[in-house]
């Protein structure tokens, strides 16, 4: 908690044009860029909103350029968009079946959003913020998936959707027990989905920042400058590669779990 205090301290110092080394948690600090209030709720435009908007701008350019003039024999941009879309479509075909194609745009949107937010957050120097390192954002996305799964489930199967939780061929007592566990696990899905992504992103960025701090502190060792900073710098380079991998893998995992949950709703196992 004192780290949080340090970070807040830093903000005040920065306002006074002073210098201060930010703590590893400072990067997750929400900075209000334009205060806004809607129906009594705080809806300020923050650095998180800004980077979400940048991510959507990047996705928009990618999509609009890639599909500007779709052709049977695709150009580079179109091939890139198709590659990602094909990836999502195959994932849905494998995990949901032929019914799954209908949800391809939604899963594609979620995948692209998480992926681009994760990747943009890794940009050094530009003060990048990672919206997906905030549980508010990941929880919002996870509840979007959860809501869609519930709607699809009840819309396709009605109250029969509850048979998803009922074990077949068991007596009532055991059945009720399993039913309870299944309902709890179903209700916990949005939280696990949200926490997985948030925790991965947060941990990665904290690690990067910690080693970044080591570069500065060890590199500024007076008697032998720079030399000791090389090792943590090398570690940071390797970590950045790892974080790139994690950024992609976590976006994939998020989309994969979303399609698995959709499979439950569409096919009831």
């Amino acid at each position: 908690m004192h780290r949080l205090g340090l970070a807040v301290n830093c903000q005040t110092i920065r306002k006074n044009k002073g210098f201060c080394m930010a703590g590893p948690m400072h990067q997750f600090e929400i900075a209000t860029l334009k205060p806004l209030e809607l129906a009594g709720y705080d809806a300020s435009f923050t650095n998180s909103s800004l980077w979400m908007a940048i991510a959507i701008g990047v996705i928009g350019v990618f999509m609009f350029v890639g599909t500007a003039r779709p052709q049977l024999v695709p150009g580079r941009w179109q091939a890139a968009v198709e590659y990602v879309y094909d990836f999502v479509r195959n994932m849905l075909d494998e995990n949901v079946g032929p019914e799954g194609r209908r949800y391809a745009p939604l899963i594609f949107a979620i995948f692209m959003f998480v992926l681009i937010c994760n990747l943009l957050g890794l940009l050094p120097w530009v003060g990048a913020f990672t919206p997906t390192s905030h549980i508010s954002v990941t929880l919002g996305l996870a509840f979007l998936v959860f809501t869609v799964v519930c709607i699809v489930g009840f819309w396709r199967h009605g109250l029969h959707f509850f048979s998803l939780f009922w074990p077949k061929d068991t007596n009532i007592a055991l059945g009720l027990f399993v039913f309870l566990i299944e309902v709890l696990s179903f209700l916990s899905r949005p939280f696990t989905l949200a926490i997985r992504l948030f925790a991965n992103m947060t941990a990665g960025h904290v690690l990067l920042k910690v080693f970044g701090t080591f570069v500065v502190t060890l590199g500024s060792f007076g008697a032998l400058p720079y030399v000791f900073g090389v090792l943590p710098l090398a570690v940071n380079v390797a970590l950045t590669a790892l974080e790139l991998l994690i950024a992609v893998v976590q976006a994939y995992v998020f989309a994969l779990l979303a399609s698995l949950y959709l499979n439950d709703a569409v096919n009831l196992h």
Binding site: A7, I30, F45
Partner: protein, 164 residues
């Protein structure tokens, strides 16, 4: 951690996430993806159709090649039959011609043999006369007494008969 400062952090992010994701889904994905998936489906259909027509063409060419092979085999068989028949015919004809030539030649040989034996008989007859004449002349010169043609002939016949 700033993330758990829900009072200050939750609503602004949720509001902007909802708004921006709506823009992303309805404004970007929904307007661009259908065009792309239409083209991708078209391409898939086209490829399937092309593959089907290629398969069909291959089947047809296979069938034609099979027919061609069968035709070749059939005509080869036919040619072989014709060749055998022609060979048989030729053998028959040459046999016939050989027989005819044989006949003709043996007739000629027989005629020649006849002529030879005739010539030999004639020569033998002439030899008898000459021998008798010679013997008559020799005896007349040696003895001065002509033995007469008949006696000489008888002697010659006796000797020639002994020789022959």
């Amino acid at each position: 951690m700033p993330q758990f400062d829900f009072a200050n952090v939750f609503w602004p992010q949720l509001f902007w996430l909802t708004a921006l994701f709506a823009v992303l889904y309805f404004g970007i994905i929904r307007t661009t993806l259908p065009r792309l998936s239409k083209v991708m489906d078209e391409r898939e259909d086209r490829i399937t159709a092309d593959l089907a027509s290629a398969r069909e063409a291959k089947e047809m060419s296979d069938r034609v090649a099979e027919e061609y092979q069968a035709e070749i085999n059939r005509s080869r068989e036919e040619a072989r039959g014709k060749l055998a028949a022609a060979k048989l015919e030729a053998a028959k004809a040459s046999k016939k011609r050989l027989a005819a030539a044989d006949k003709r030649l043996s007739a000629k040989v027989a005629e020649a043999e006849q002529q030879i034996s005739a010539a030999r008989n004639a020569a033998n007859a002439a030899l008898r006369d000459i021998a008798a004449e010679g013997a008559e002349a020799i005896v007349a010169r040696l003895t001065g007494d002509a033995p007469g043609r008949k006696a000489a002939l008888a002697r010659v016949d006796a000797i020639l008969g002994g020789v022959n």
